[in-house]
Symmetry: C2
Subunit: 333 residues, 2 copies
């Protein structure tokens, strides 16, 4: 298993990326390939007295930023850490991880690794912590703004295979994101997808509304990339409003401030528990290779967790199982 | 101005509805027409010693529940409080308010009042309190699961006219709900809507993501009914998760419980500030008559506030302005 990490992607690169990779390498007892500006990586190693022995280095002089148009950036910056890393990930038994531009990672993954045969569209799968202390997968979280019902059917399939393998679930429960729980609810896309999911060999539990997002009633929530991204950003906006409100309350009086000080730690722990950016990263499902997107704001711990997830993903049979199911499905159609 | 209230709609009917209507009637110094099972309404009046003089009563023996299929219920239950009330609302200078089934209210409004000439689809417009202490209108919040870009264009127009008249805004800022702030972002629908809104005589400020929902950067957020409903329910789910978390924290230790007791009141006030169900109700824009949907869980105060909003709406020039703009638009096309 080759673990390849884009050292230059993300808001805190290369520092936090390199540190997280070092922690992961040490805990796993496995060497990690760092791709990026080796001089800058070396600086970080020196500054934090990190041992070189945990790494192989592959130099890549360019960096793709979040502001660049993904397709153009991937085409032009062949010597970027993202493209060089993806090129290395062509090798069997490897995993590639980046906290860089989601769009560029997705485009690059399609260019360098391609889709799994039979899969129509890859999806970004986000893992959201639920109140049972487990994970609920939301996909697609934004790879495909416009979807057909068959894409959603394949998302359900891919999500099931991922959750089964990564979280040892016998039959992961799949729900469809909708605006009502009854079968006939929703827009034309969701109605059609409902029928397809009912006919699928998965544990389909029906429609689910945003109000039970964190209840843990299902393991996988399937939707189009537009709706999925709207959900994620609405959670973010609501959380921001809440923490802003709590801070405001704390300022109201000295006594409350004192009381609030006692709650600071548990509130922080609570926020951390639901912070999906800190866990395991997001697999790009449907891509013909193990690719993990870590959140742009990832710190060393988030990167370490994402490497752990990537290591497991890379070793698993997830991609070959998707290949099997995808082809099977398409010969059926 | 005739204020007509469905006394039987909502989770807390008729009690909270009647009480809220009584408070509104007294504060406004205006009689209100209560529609519903007069015997049950009288019981409430007696129990709470509410004076009859504030009301006219119109008997309606049936009630439409949330569980009924809207179109069927409206067709079959012509003697329901909802249908009888909407029939009364045909009268010029009237407003109808219900906390009953949203679907039935929408269907009923179309049957009894029809659409404003030139308007393709009515929309449910929800008013969400933002952190500036003002209101942001989200529409469509669920009337139309599938939308065309021209519907969104009209939603923007109707929302602008409503916010201008009700909140004395010179040029209410309109944003499009999207998954990125750049112009070319989103699905096919939003891209097309973006172009239409740019050509419209409104204060279009571009795309807005869910993460800035509560920031108050715009007065109106336009989207299809599926996405709008997903946003609302995601806010609800996230809020539920947060308040659950806070409660959990309070239980962690006696000291924190004590500290938490001090914060109970401000936390409640904070929650109340953002509780959109407590404010002014939701207008069904595009319907040829002033119709206000109050939240199903409304208590007396929420009903009172919704009656106030309805009273203002009924007196305003909103509908005639929409008529003007709608027709103008359609002769242009």
């Amino acid at each position: 298993m080759k673990i390849i990490v884009d050292a230059m992607g993300g808001d805190n690169a290369p520092e936090q990326i390199v540190m997280g990779a070092a922690q992961a390498a040490e805990e796993l007892g496995k060497k990690i390939t760092l791709v990026g500006d080796v001089a800058r990586i070396q600086e970080v190693l020196t500054r934090y007295s990190i041992q070189e022995e945990w790494f192989d280095f592959v130099d890549a002089k360019e960096v793709i930023s979040n502001e660049e148009e993904p397709a153009q950036a991937v085409r032009r910056k062949k010597d970027s850490s993202l493209c060089v890393g993806l090129n290395l990930a062509k090798e069997k038994n490897s995993v590639f991880l980046s906290a860089g531009s989601t769009g560029a990672l997705l485009t690059g993954a399609l260019v360098y690794l391609g889709r799994i045969k039979g899969i129509k569209r890859p999806a970004i799968a986000i893992l959201i912590p639920n109140k049972l202390g487990k994970m609920t997968m939301l996909l697609d979280a934004g790879a495909n703004a416009d979807c057909k019902a068959e894409y959603l059917q394949q998302f359900a399939l891919m999500g099931s295979i991922y959750m089964k393998n990564m979280y040892q679930l016998q039959a992961p429960k799949v729900a469809l994101l909708n605006i009502g729980t009854e079968a006939a609810k929703g827009n034309a896309l969701m109605k059609e997808a409902y029928d397809l999911l009912e006919g699928e060999e998965i544990a389909f539990v029906g429609n689910m509304e945003g109000r039970s997002l964190f209840d843990g009633d299902c393991d996988i929530i399937v939707c189009d990339g537009f709706s999925g991204n709207v959900v994620l950003k609405t959670i973010e906006g609501t959380a921001k409003m809440f923490f802003g409100g709590i801070k405001e309350i704390m300022r109201q009086s000295a006594v409350i401030k004192l009381a609030g000080a006692l709650m600071k730690k548990p509130i922080k722990a609570f926020a951390g528990k639901y912070d999906y950016t800190a866990y395991g990263g997001s697999p790009l499902l449907g891509v013909n290779g193990a690719v993990i997107k870590a959140h742009g704001s990832s710190d060393a711990t988030a990167i370490k967790n994402a490497v752990f997830a990537g290591y497991e993903y890379g070793q698993s049979k997830i991609i070959s199982e998707i290949l099997e199911k995808g082809i099977e499905k398409n010969t059926n159609i």
